[in-house]
């Protein structure tokens, strides 16, 4: 069986940044396995701008952002295979993938980086009642039709869910000549970035109906309309508030799910909230030598943060391969508290560098304090003016503080100012 130092699963922004980082940290024997026809992942269909402000201090489109990393992969001659779908990862790091030509192959890796990204929640996962005609698509599928293939999924649109892709597609469909009747959001707040609400809905006079959901889909062959209703505090539809919207298309932007079937096949422990692997500050999973980064680990709002996380994972994987003798390490775990829905990383192992901690809050908050403490004392404090589930928070804990933590637990808390 062929042996490869580092196999990276997925050639999107996470996979490419991880590959470049591992290369720059001394690992040359790399293989990126990408299931699509080109590198770049979902960025290739994100032709709008707004990418790279954080990372490159310039405003790029998705393909332009992807190119920043594709070019490095090409220049460094990092090997990759396209149309190569990984079918299985074993616990001892054998990777089996289907190839466009010929039989599937299995390679033995010293380390693996999971960078498969995420998928969109579908209508079925929401149990929306009604008929099953053509014209019901996830926002990402519609984006692929419009931006990659050049076809319109419909011309009179209702969008359920105010996730970023839904907001982007509201604007995109409008620019292409379709009429977006409304964006419905079951929560009392949007799940997308504020800048997208402003630039994609407000600027185009597209109504955002908060605390509303689709309760029925109509039409036999093509969608002819949807019924929407207001929901109560428990997000249950309120009888009598139903409203009919004629449309030929329903787009769904109701959440992203990390694609972790391969992680499961390798027996990696998953976090129930993020849907991604449980990792330490190096992005190493519960299986030694298997790392994860990007949207397969937790869903990010900005690709810039995906790149950062992937660079960290690439660096860690390189270190793992080069320093094969590892000692038993003290494990410190992050503890969720009220109003914090998840934290990545979930744990720390022998800290040597500063650690950036990403987390999401569970509701909308104004003027709060983020407090990080161990069992005895407060380690870190930060004032936050506004926090929302749709915007990922990040804080930097410096290594000196982390080194003298008492006990094996760290708590992240949200307090009123």
């Amino acid at each position: 069986m062929k042996k490869i130092d580092l196999v990276i699963i997925g050639g999107g922004p996470a996979g490419m940044a991880a590959a470049v980082s591992a290369y720059n940290n001394g690992i040359k024997d790399i293989l990126i396995l990408e299931r699509e026809e080109s590198l770049g992942g979902i960025l290739q269909q994100c032709i709008h701008n707004g990418f790279g402000l954080h990372k490159f201090k310039e405003e790029l489109t998705g393909p332009e952002y992807a190119w920043k990393y594709e070019k490095q992969v090409f220049d460094l001659k990092i090997p990759f295979r396209l149309n190569a779908m990984v079918m299985n990862i074993s616990a001892d790091k054998q990777v089996t993938f289907a190839c466009e030509q010929g039989e599937s192959q299995t390679v033995q890796a010293k380390a693996i980086i999971l960078a498969m990204g995420c998928r969109e929640r579908s209508r079925g996962a929401l149990n929306i009642a009604g008929t099953r005609p053509a014209g019901i698509y996830t926002a990402g599928t519609a984006q692929k039709f419009v931006n990659i293939m050049g076809y319109m999924p419909g011309k009179r649109i209702v969008i359920l869910g105010s996730g970023d892709i839904g907001l982007i597609m509201a604007r995109r469909m409008t620019i292409e000549g379709a009429k977006v009747e409304a964006v419905c959001e079951i929560a009392p707040y949007s799940g997308g970035l504020t800048r997208n609400i402003v630039q994609c809905l407000n600027d185009f006079d597209i109504p955002l109906k908060l605390s509303h959901t689709v309760v029925d889909i109509h039409g036999k062959e093509r969608v002819t309309g949807v019924t929407i209703a207001r929901v109560d505090q428990n997000r249950k539809p309120i009888s009598g508030t139903e409203e009919y919207f004629a449309c030929d298309t329903l787009l769904l932007s109701v959440g992203l799910i990390p694609e972790n079937e391969l992680a499961k096949s390798a027996g990696i422990a998953l976090d129930k909230v993020t849907g991604g692997a449980v990792v330490d500050q190096n992005r190493e999973t519960s299986k030694s030598g298997i790392f994860a980064c990007g949207n397969v680990l937790h869903v990010h709002d900005l690709v810039d943060f995906v790149s950062e996380e992937a660079e960290l994972a690439g660096h860690s994987a390189a270190k793992y391969i080069l320093e094969s003798d590892k000692q038993a390490e003290k494990e410190i775990t992050f503890q969720l508290t009220e109003n914090i829905s998840y934290i990545v990383p979930q744990m720390l192992h022998s800290v040597q560098n500063d650690v950036i901690v990403y987390f999401r809050v569970a509701n909308i908050f104004k003027n709060v304090i983020i407090e990080v403490r161990d069992d005895e004392k407060v380690l870190y404090k930060k004032n936050i003016k506004k926090a929302a589930p749709g915007e990922m928070e990040c804080i930097k804990l410096n290594k000196e503080i982390l080194r003298d933590i008492r006990g094996n637990k760290i708590y992240v808390e949200l307090k009123q100012r």
């Binding site: 599928t141 076809y151 319109m152 000549g177 093509r222 499961k264």
Partner: protein, 463 residues
């Protein structure tokens, strides 16, 4: 001129077609939809019932027991999945247990083998995830599962390979008996046949009426279902039933042959024969009914819901009989129709023999159908990530009898789009492959024929 026209390409019609394709007869199957298996055959529980439920001596009982015994061999010949997982009817009260004891007696009389009434302890051994409140069960080891549309597609494919013709999008509008043959017309075409087999499912009453027979009526009974991710297909080993009522066998919990978990159906008499919508009330009934039996079902893992319409006749039993001259009705084939379908086919061939059809066996009948090799490692480029379906398999489905001409037809043949993302990633590629292979424009590709177009045209093309 065909010897025999079969109206309706559901599982019953195609099983008859396959049986008849063993003889020197010219056969044509007509269906109003853009694909086969578009009625009750695509949306049911996929259970091969043991046969304890139907009234002794009824056609339902006789043909169920016989059909279910034939099923294993047929599925082997057609290379479709079949799993003999066994069924359990769960009892919660003494009343339930006495009903179970009646089912046992009836099953024994119907000729069902291996039936056993088991206590709570044995039930827990067989099915650890069953509700704590269960006190016993009827165990039917001969119960099995199949995929109903996979079976239907394979059976018609095999019949076509043996010479049968299939005409889709042929909605029968009139039937006229001329001297010694029938003229069957749609709104655009007319064909001729000496004999007609009416297997039109929900519309069997209307088709019979066209031939002058108004002796029965069919009404639709809706059943709603939920399907869970493959991760939970092992939650129950057996098909789990409640004690049946006059509206059916209740909400079941069962693995499918593809490894998903299936919950449902509801049972609601409705008026509209085309109303296949799901409802909030229906889905909540399914959830509650399923949780009663198996409390730990992870509802977050539902990947889709659907509903099917059973064709319920006003006579209680299956209607399989000679009607007007050279005309056979097969109607009211509700549950256990799928299980009975191979036996119904034999029964119909016998009826045709009695009616004077000359039945000379073909010497070159090929019983086997195999389109995909078991080893998938050579299939190359994967299109459907969730179900690992390759481009090769999709292309093959488009060019193999019965040819797939739309996205849902590809899905039923290959499972592309049936996984956890429900086609989010693969569907645009499937549209591309269909357009290429059928040599049609991208925007002409439909979800399931008619006006169910996936896209409406090129960007910048909206007027």
């Amino acid at each position: 001129m065909y010897d025999i026209a079969i109206i309706g390409a559901g599982v019953v019609g195609v099983m008859i077609a396959r049986e008849l394709s063993k003889y020197n007869l010219s056969i044509c199957i007509l269906d109003k939809e853009s694909d086969v298996s578009m009625g009750a055959s695509k949306a049911n529980s996929g259970i091969i019932h043991a046969g304890y439920d139907a009234k002794c001596g009824s056609l339902k009982a006789i043909l169920n027991v016989k059909g279910s015994k034939m099923m294993k061999q047929i599925t082997e010949e057609l290379s479709v999945k079949y799993k003999n997982n066994g069924s359990l009817v769960i009892g919660y009260t003494d009343e339930d247990m006495s009903a179970i004891s009646e089912l046992y007696d009836r099953g024994v009389k119907n000729g069902v083998e291996g039936l056993e009434v088991i206590d709570k302890m044995k039930l827990k051994q067989l099915e650890p995830n069953i509700s704590q409140n269960a006190i016993g069960a009827l165990f039917a080891p001969t119960g099995a599962i199949v995929c109903p549309y996979e079976l239907t597609v394979a059976a018609i494919g095999n019949a076509m390979d043996n010479g049968a013709a299939l005409k889709l999008e042929f909605e029968v509008k009139s039937i006229n008996l001329l001297n010694d043959y029938y003229e069957i017309s749609s709104h655009k075409e007319t064909m001729k046949a000496k004999y007609i087999i009416n297997a039109a499912g929900l519309y069997a009453d209307e088709v019979a009426r066209m031939a002058g027979d108004d002796s029965f009526e069919i009404h639709p009974r809706k059943g709603e279902y939920l399907i869970l991710d493959k991760e939970f297909g092992n939650l129950t080993k057996h098909t789990i039933f409640r004690v049946p009522s006059k509206m059916g066998k209740g909400i079941l919990v069962s693995a499918t042959v593809d490894g998903n978990l299936l919950l449902g159906p509801t049972s609601e008499d409705i008026l509209d024969k085309e109303d296949k919508s799901t409802t909030q009330i229906g889905m909540s009934k399914v959830i509650h009914g399923a949780l009663d039996n198996v409390p730990d079902i992870p509802l977050k893992s539902v990947i889709t819901s659907f509903s099917g319409l059973r064709a319920v006749a006003d006579r209680g039993d299956f209607i399989i009989e000679k009607s007007k001259t050279n005309f056979i009705n097969i109607a009211g084939i509700e549950s256990p129709g799928l299980s009975a379908s191979p036996a119904i086919a034999l029964y119909v061939v016998e009826l045709l023999g009695e009616m004077g059809v000359s039945l000379t066996p073909k010497t070159n009948f090929k019983p086997n159908r195999k389109i995909f090799a078991a080893d998938k490692s050579k299939y190359g480029k994967i299109i459907c990530r969730c179900e690992h379906i390759s481009e090769y398999e999709i292309v093959k489905a488009i060019h193999t009898n019965p040819p797939a001409t739309n996205v849902d037809a590809v899905k039923r043949r290959t499972r592309s789009g049936m996984g956890r993302c429900q086609g989010g990633f693969c569907m645009p590629h499937v549209v591309e492959i269909l357009a290429r292979e059928l040599n049609i424009n991208f925007e002409e590709v439909t979800k399931f024929g008619g006006n169910s177009k996936i896209t409406i045209g090129k960007t910048k093309g909206i007027s």
